[in-house]
Symmetry: C2
């Protein structure tokens, strides 16, 4: 049985608005990237200290509005390769510019999480932090 076609009645939850919970910072002489959690979310960090891996969701804030409208791009920006759909790639250009990465938690200092493996740019709004790796 084919599913019904998606129609406007399924889009009534809009708009979906995000609340940044932290910001990515890189400090001058600190080798690790820092996730600076906003004070109002401090409770959400309870018990995080002992974890080895975290999944971090962040907003790719440096993309231009037109980058979010390109649905087929050259893989890795290589113009010798034919364009592919962004849902078949990990290109940062996509309708909702959310990056997802697994990081290693190096240490926590209060509201600051020092991590390895975060590919976010400095200043990127962090949307979520989750236990462990994506399954």
């Amino acid at each position: 049985m084919p599913s019904k076609h998606a129609d406007d009645s399924e889009r009534t939850d809009l708009p979906l608005v995000l609340t940044p919970v932290a910001v990515v910072e890189r400090n001058g002489d600190e080798p690790h990237q820092c996730i600076q959690v906003f004070p109002e979310f401090s409770e959400a960090l309870s018990g995080i200290d002992d974890l080895a891996h975290l999944t971090v969701l962040y907003w790719m804030h440096r993309l231009a509005p037109e980058d979010l409208q390109r649905f087929r791009v050259h893989p890795r920006g290589d113009r010798t390769r034919p364009r592919k759909g962004v849902f078949a790639l990990r290109s940062p250009m996509r309708p909702n510019p959310i990056g997802v990465t697994t990081v290693t938690l190096v240490r926590r200092e209060g509201l600051r999480l020092y991590v390895e493996g975060l590919d976010a740019l400095d200043g990127a709004p962090v949307l979520d932090i989750k236990y462990g790796r994506v399954e």
Copy 2:
């Protein structure tokens, strides 16, 4: 050198608004979950047919507003276990209710992706589809 404290100047990108690109549907006699992509994003599916695994981001749309304000919860809802911060858990309750899952692509039929392993509820707005697993 400690980082500067996050202040309001770092929050000027707000609001971050999401555009659903698809919806999760479960059909009566179809054993696999279906991601019904909205027609305006059809180009973004180009080249996806041959992929084995996809990362799917979706909005956990059944949560109540108060669920997004609980920053410490009992792990797996088990009240015999002490509360932990939601950033140290995979609880669906978190400030931005975005779920991330790796799925197996079973088959594509036009705008429909039939998948295995998607833990989203029927009707959940899909925010992004990415190549492969989260690294």
